[in-house]
Subunit: 220 residues, 2 copies
Amino acid sequence: MTTPRIIEVRRNLLRDNDTRARALRERFHAAGVRVVSLVSSPGAGKTTLLHALLPRLAEHVRVATLVGDLATENDARRLAAAGAPVRQINTGTLCHLEARMIEAALADWDLHALDLLLIENVGNLVCPSGYDLGEDLRLVLASVTEGEDKPLKYPTIFNTADVAVITKLDLAEPAGCDLALLRHHIEAVRPGMRVCEVSARSGSGLPALEHLIAGAGAAA
Amino acid sequence: MTTPRIIEVRRNLLRDNDTRARALRERFHAAGVRVVSLVSSPGAGKTTLLHALLPRLAEHVRVATLVGDLATENDARRLAAAGAPVRQINTGTLCHLEARMIEAALADWDLHALDLLLIENVGNLVCPSGYDLGEDLRLVLASVTEGEDKPLKYPTIFNTADVAVITKLDLAEPAGCDLALLRHHIEAVRPGMRVCEVSARSGSGLPALEHLIAGAGAAA
C-alpha cells in the first residue's frame, strides 16, 4: 500500500509550492503588479476570453500574460496577436501550473514595468485547485456547453476560486443550458460567490469582467 | 528538490496499477466481459452519450456501468434511469480512476452475468491517461464546443485511447467548429486513429458507435 507515502510527498510538494507562492505574492505586491489567474476545463474558453479582454485592458494598464499547456505554443501565438507580452509555459505531462514555473517564466521580466499579470492555467477542473500561484484573484470559468452540474462535481476548484465566470453565453440557447440552475449550483457549493456571465463572441458581459480583473488599477 | 522522489513514488503507483489492471483484464476475459472506458474533459458529454447508448446496447447484451466523479451520485442516478445496473465511484479529490477502484466497485458483482462493462472516468484530459483500468477499448471524447486544438494540447490522452469520439455534433455550426480541422488534429497526434462523430441529442452516429462499443458481442 503506497498511499501514505504519496500523501506525505504530496504534502511536502504543496508546502514547497505554498512557500514559493507566498514569496511570489510579496514580489508582485512590492512591484505593484495585480495578478489574476484563470482555471477551467479544457475548451471552456480561457484563451478566447483573454484574447477579447487583452486589447481592452491594455488601454488602461500595462498587462502581460503567462499561459500554461501540456504542449504547443498555440495559446501564446493567439494571445501575442492581441499585442501584449505573453509567454507560454509547457508543462509536459504535468496537469497544472506550479509556483516554481511562474518564478522561472518571470525570471527575466521586469515586474515594475507591469500593472497586471494574467495567468492561464492548464485546462483541468481538478488538479490546479491545490496550487497557489501567488495570484490576487482566481477566476474559475464554466462554459454553458459543459452542463449545469460542474460546480457540484468539481466543488474544490470552485471553493479555491474567487469569481465564477460563465462563458459562451451566446451558446446557452442552442446548448439548452439552464443558466439559473448553473448559478444555483455555484451558490450551493460556494454561497455568495460572485458570478459573471460573458460571451467573448458577442462581447456581452466583458466590461464588467474587465473592471473586475483590472481592479482599482483600471482607473489609473 | 522533491521531484526525483515523487517520480519514484509515481512509478511504484503506476506499476501497482498496471499489475492490478492486468489481473482485472484476465478476470474480464475469463468471464467473457468486454470492457470499454470513456475519458474526456468535464462536460464533453460522457454521461449523456451513455444515457443514449445504454437502452440500445441493453437490447443485445447484458450491460452495466461504473461512473467516476470527485463528488455526487448524479451520473449514477441519470444512468440508472436507462435501466441497466450502474455504480458510482466517488474519488474525493483524486483526478482519475485507478484499477484498485474498479476492483473494489466490482467486488460483489457476478461478472459472469455481464457481457459488457462501461467505465466512465472522471472528467479530465490529463491524469486518466496513465492509468490502465483493464479495459479492452478506450474512447476519448472531444466535443465540438471545446475547440479544434484539444488533440494537439492533450496529446497523451489521445495516444492512450483507441477511438476518438467527436460529440455534440448538433452544436458544430452554432459553436463555429471546423470539423475537418479537428479531425486533422486527431490524425496529427495519432495517425490512423478511428474517429466517430455523434450527437446524443439527434441520434446521429449512434448506431456506428454502438456497434463499435459492443464489438463482436453485439451480434450475440
